[in-house]
């Protein structure tokens, strides 16, 4: 039997995939099914789940409400749609900003001397050794009214004899955006770097031989060949930003509610796991739809994955 297995490549493949499949089933598929079941349930007065089949949670999410001002039977409350929309735009803006910051840096690293590249990449990774939450706290120190940034600005203003009013930076939506961009920057730099580093030098030489100036070379050679990295990075950044709640809690002063915050609250303060499950599923579906259209247009960045 062992001998037959040694010859049968496809059976080997199946066998090797078994442990992963098993864990995926236990840790991903089953919880997902449970979440779906709970999402059709209702909340008991004590905050337990009553298992029934009701679409109430989804109707509430869409914003059609039954408790309306007097005289109306149904009315529209766009609260949750607004929260979803805010999360979506924040994820989009963060991703665009991250690309704009990460691309030049990745380009710089990829074009630097091979001996230095490892050092540079190392520097990109070092912040990840510190806990996520602690790095967010560091930003709070920087952005405070009496924080480091305002202190430096105040000092410069003092030297220039300008009247200085400390900037209100912490606990604003802008602070949340800065936090998101900072947290997820490395996840964009690395894939872009990988695709840039793979570009054969002879291609640049060929472009130059054929009379392309550096700008044209970048547009026609570098950029298209590095797109797989951008695509892979976008997926790695966009999806986590959609679901994160720590950054908006700490840097937004709990005033910026994202879909992640909404879900977290349902399982704790609101004690409404059914509504929380419905919200999670909506988030998942929305992320899937965005990712689906995105990957249909640009692919998964397979070249990166297959590297």
């Amino acid at each position: 039997m062992l001998k037959r297995l040694r010859e049968n490549k496809s059976a080997q493949g199946t066998l090797l995939a078994l442990p992963t499949t098993f864990w995926m089933f236990i840790l991903l598929i089953i919880p997902l099914i449970l979440t779906a079941i709970v999402s059709f349930g209702k909340r008991s007065p004590d905050g337990n789940v009553i298992y029934t089949f009701s679409l109430d949670n989804y109707i509430r999410l869409i914003g059609i409400s039954s408790d309306c001002p007097a005289g109306q039977t149904t009315c529209f409350n766009p609260l949750y749609v607004q929260i979803l929309w805010r999360s979506l735009t924040l994820a989009f803006n963060s991703t665009v900003l991250v690309i704009m910051l990460a691309y030049p840096l990745a380009y710089f690293i990829a074009r630097s001397h091979p001996n230095r590249r490892t050092t540079f990449l190392f520097m990109v990774l070092i912040p990840l050794w510190t806990n996520f939450v602690i790095r967010v706290y560091a930003w709070m120190m920087l952005l405070r009214k009496e924080g480091a940034i305002n202190a430096v600005l105040g000092w410069v203003a003092h030297l220039l004899h300008i009247n200085f009013v400390p900037l209100e930076m912490l606990y604003t939506p802008g602070a949340v955006l800065v936090g998101m961009v900072y947290e997820f920057l490395p996840f964009m730099i690395l894939p872009i770097y990988t695709s840039l580093e793979k570009i054969d030098n002879s291609l640049y030489e060929a472009a130059a031989d054929l009379g392309a100036n550096p700008f044209r070379t970048f547009l026609r050679v570098t950029l298209p060949l590095s797109m797989p990295g951008v695509v892979a990075g976008t997926i790695l950044v966009f999806i986590p930003v959609m679901g994160t709640f720590i950054v908006s809690d700490l840097l937004g002063g709990k005033q910026v509610i994202l879909i992640g915050n909404l879900i977290q609250r349902q399982f704790l303060d609101a004690r409404d796991p059914a509504f929380g499950s419905a919200s999670s599923l909506i988030l998942m579906v929305m992320t899937l739809i965005v990712t689906y259209f995105y990957t249909r247009k640009f692919g998964f960045g397979e070249e990166i994955v297959a590297a």
């Binding site: 909340r43 007065p45 004590d46 905050g47 337990n48 408790d67 609260l79 607004q82 929260i83 805010r86 091979p114 590249r117 490892t118 990449l121 990774l125 990840l128 806990n131 996520f132 939450v133 405070r144 009214k145 009496e146 924080g147 209100e168 912490l170 606990y171 490395p186 996840f187 690395l190 894939p191 770097y193 990988t194 580093e197 793979k198 986590p240 720590i246 002063g253 709990k254 005033q255 509610i257 915050n261 909404l262 609250r265 349902q266 399982f267 704790l268 303060d269 609101a270 004690r271 409404d272 509504f275 590297a307």
Partner: protein, 385 residues
Amino acid sequence: MNKSNLFKLLALLVVASMALAACGGSGTSDSQSSDSAQNVTSSGFVCPEPEQKMDVTSKELNIFVWTEYIPTEWKECFEMVYGVQINHDEYSANEEMYAKLKAGGTSYDLVQPTDYIVSLMVRNGLLQKLDKSKLTIMDNLDPAYMDQPFDPGNEYTIPYEGGLDAIVYNADNVTTAPVSYADLWNPEYAGRMVLLDDSRVVIGMTLLTLGYDVNTTDPAQLEEAKNKLAELVPNVKLFDSDSPKTALIAGDVDLGIVWTGEAYTANQEDPAFTFVYPTEGAVIWQDNWAIPADAPHLDAAYAWLNYTMQGDVFYLMLRDFPYLNPDTAALEYAKANYPDLYDPFMGSPVTNPPAEAIQKAHRIDDVGDATPLYDQIWTEIKGGE
């Protein structure tokens, strides 16, 4: 750097990102063996002997307590005195503790529920009745904290500490001092306030300014409160229930609603922080000790309660967590032995509120079916455009 190395790097990143997701609290445990007659903690505190040493056969005790809410010496002392290893988990919201116990599979011996969650836990069978014959410290407890509506006759809980949610402001920066919750709507305070991130407290104080009950379930009253609260939002810089004093001390805000203990600490840092019991009456709360229904180490749990609530041990709370103190033995012990702790504690209206402030205070109860309504109002207030 070759490609396969880089790919390993990427894989590492993915693992790192998974680690991010696991940033919840984790248990810590430490053990100490008692090898000398004199038990001294690493901080130099000499552990008092238990007034009545109990028979404890358990080798472990699993406590599930609020973040930073027991003096560190307690753990070390109890481990040395009884030779029991303490496993210590923390939570930062009653709902978090409730959800964990409700999910089952825990083996906690002691929890610290706040008043309103106690009745909910009892209804759902999460707590067990206390065996008073095993509690030697019942006489230490101030009757003012006993027999509360959330646990008549103290069948399931004994008081741990209490406090009020009231107003604190920085007298250096605030020109018009607030005296009531209603004053907080003053446009002068635009963008200068911190509020507790607690829907019941903030909606509750809004209800009070309208003359309604803090525990109302009437949708019309709640709707009115929502509209009123929406007008307060421009004044709010942030919501924080982890450490609201931080934004005050750091100068990000000038006033707010915080717990008494936080206000006391802020005042110790900077005397400009002034405390106000609002004319409408403050929100009052009480944390308690309780034993979960499935607690595996009962003997150690009772020994812990008896040991930590004895006067010469519980007085440490005055030093570390200066809230309302229900342990009369601890107060007497501090008065006799540590006047430098006792006098400022009793002298400050923050830690020792006037009787009138307590009489007028309002207690939060569970609102059952209205909970999602409160949550929706809260989400609308914070998440609206």
